[in-house]
Amino acid sequence: MSKDGFIIEAQGIHKTYRMGAAQVQVLKGADIAVKRGEFVAIVGASGSGKSTLLHILGALDRPDKGVVRFEGRDLSEMSGGELNEYRNKMIGFVFQFYHLLDELNVLENVILPAMVPAGIIGWLSKRAGVKKRGLELLKAVGLEERATHKPYQLSGGERQRAAIARALVNEPRLLLADEPTGNLDSATGNGILELLERLNRAGQTIVMVTHDERVAKRAGRTITLADGKVK
């Protein structure tokens, strides 16, 4: 934890994408800081750089300029292995399009992050415990009956709940959610938001990106991105 109590903070983040011959500057010095236990929504118009900022916080992308610190440690100073560990253990990522692996069933998808760092022998020794936790998470998100189903056999809302369970399996300190309700109807989306609220009440720090003001209102704090900066 940083001395200011922030679990994650980003300062002066710049990011430019090359699109053909043109260069698009998406972030122009964005700053953000999130305290442990907060539920923060990042809102902004389409193309305002919300998802890019979230990817940078989750170390899925690197900023061109600026610093991201997780619990006081600069991500740019982490080695490749440490960044992999950061993505695996510190962060849980929920995507708009769920991004479950079609080849695995729901339970296997959920416990996949726990399998990634384990070798064959390591996995065999902890398999039972991880499976138990996976089933508990599926129960918590209301999918215990769907554990052996394939992702394509689930509805959109069920897939997103499975994705949330996957993001939580390694008990991450920070949950990053990119438009988690963006691809769902309002009733299903509402169910997902209730789940996120429930997790936050239980102490989970959440940073959520959304373009929907009504969704953002469910968070404890809203940060608005406009013209590549935080307003």
């Binding site: 992999n84 995507f95 692996l101 990634v116 760092p117």
Partner: protein, 449 residues
């Protein structure tokens, strides 16, 4: 662990994997079948050529031959690594059935039936005297008549199954053989109208060596008869070659080296003797060198085939590369997901290389199994095709091939399987590395479009 699970699931749940597997299996199948048949044919051909000669051949291609062969044969016979020795006359003759008025040119071989069959596989090539080659030139009806053994293709026709017609007993058909006797200097030994030596011989057996060129051009005569016919009896007796068989376990090249040393010593000791100049033309060669002309063509074909298999291997690598490129293009989302949950570049590479190895193992297993099944039944299949459609891989009336070879070489199978797996790994390497280097944010955004 997840890499193993995912690699396995990719392998059996993706249809495109089956295409790659079929490509690998087909390549392995082709290589196994063609190499087995080709290796069998080449091996069989070499064995037949070896059977036709001793392990080592001392002599000259000159029709004049060389002198003092008996002395050298006696010395060679005493060497502890030599099993047996036999002299051979090699010349050309005109032969014709008595009274027919027609002649054909043939190669003439003068051999001592008993010792020649101890040194070579001659005894096994005979039809009537297979069990007792020493009587190969004996005529049952009259022991005093000189017999001849003739190449099977000169004597009778092969049927469509590659078999010859043989009368129950040799019928002592008379055949006249005519030779030009040569002096030790290489000049015609006779002058005037009686320039040739002609003698009548009687059919005692026929020889089927399995070498079409031999069986279609050679006639064997008793050594002394051939020597006389070719004028090689005086002033010093001559022979064309001495064939030597080494004792079991003797390395042929090493044996030949020792015979060469023996010959050099013999040559030095005989310098200055009558007609000793002929000894300078003598060479000592292994059976392979002696039959080089016959074997070389086949070996060239085999080398060509190996080169073609190299191209087949490259094609496999390319097919696997294309398939993996397509699979990985379809799997960018998975790569992004895996990297977003902490998988390293190495993990992604191992995942896809594991997938490739699985593909190689499964593909080569199917190819090898199919190859074994096909080879086990290749002669049955050919028989069926011949009965049904009249198709033969090799026309047995023309080619001296019995069964299509189908003996499997386990080393070859292991090498082919290993190469197939390596080809898959090579084909998958580049797409795997480029997939591993992709940034998760990029691939996940692309997969959302």
């Amino acid at each position: 662990m997840y890499k193993l699970i995912l690699a396995f699931r990719y392998l059996y749940r993706r249809r495109i994997s089956y295409l790659a597997l079929a490509a690998v299996a087909l390549c392995v199948f082709i290589v196994v079948v063609v190499m087995t048949v080709m290796d069998g044919l080449v091996g069989d051909f070499k064995e037949k050529n070896h059977n036709f000669t001793g392990d080592c051949v001392v002599g000259t291609e000159s029709l004049v031959g060389f002198t003092y062969y008996e002395d050298f044969a006696r010395i060679a016979e005493k060497a502890n690594y030599v099993e047996a020795v036999t002299p051979v006359i090699k010349s050309y003759a005109l032969v014709g059935l008595e009274g027919s008025g027609r002649n054909i040119g043939v190669e003439l071989m003068g051999v001592e039936a008993a010792s020649y069959s101890r040194v070579t596989g001659f005894g096994r090539t005979l039809y009537y005297h297979k069990g007792d080659a020493s009587k190969a030139f004996n005529i049952k009806s009259d022991a005093n008549l000189p017999g001849f053994v003739i190449g099977a293709d000169l004597w009778s026709m092969r049927d469509e199954k590659g078999e010859y017609y043989h009368a129950p007993n040799p019928d002592a058909t008379a055949l006249s053989a005519t030779c030009f006797p040569l002096t030790a200097k290489g000049a015609l030994a006779k002058a005037g109208t009686d320039v040739v030596n002609t003698k009548t011989f009687y059919f005692s057996d026929c020889s089927q060596s399995g070498l079409a060129r031999v069986d279609g051009s050679i006639i064997y005569l008793p050594f002394t008869e051939a020597q006389a016919l070719c004028g090689m009896t005086e002033p010093v007796a001559r022979a064309s070659w001495i064939h030597i068989k080494f004792k079991q376990g003797t390395n042929i090249e090493e044996g030949c080296r020792r015979v060469r040393q023996m010959w050099e010593k013999f040559y030095d000791e005989h310098k200055g003797k009558d007609n000793a100049e002929l000894l300078s033309q003598v060479s000592v060669r292994s059976w392979k060198e002696h039959r080089r002309e016959s074997i070389a063509g086949m070996e060239k074909e085999q080398a060509m085939l190996m080169m073609m298999f190299g191209l087949v291997g490259l094609t496999t690598v390319f097919i696997v590369y294309v398939v993996f490129y397509m699979i990985i293009s379809h799997k960018t989302k998975d790569i992004g997901i895996l990297k977003s949950i902490g998988a390293s570049c190495g993990d992604v590479i191992v995942l896809f290389l594991g997938f490739a190895a699985g593909l190689g193992i499964a593909g080569s297993a199917v190819g090898v199994a199919g190859g074994i099944l096909f080879l086990r039944n290749i002669n049955r299949i050919e028989g069926w095709l011949f009965e049904r459609f009249g198709f033969q891989l090799w026309d047995r009336t023309i080619y001296a091939i019995g069964e299509i070879p189908h003996r499997l070489d386990l080393t070859m199978l292991a090498v082919v399987t290993g190469c197939a797996i390596l080809a898959c790994l090579a084909g998958a390497a580049l797409p795997s590395v480029s997939a591993a280097r992709a940034r998760p944010a990029d691939v996940l955004q692309v997969s959302q479009l």
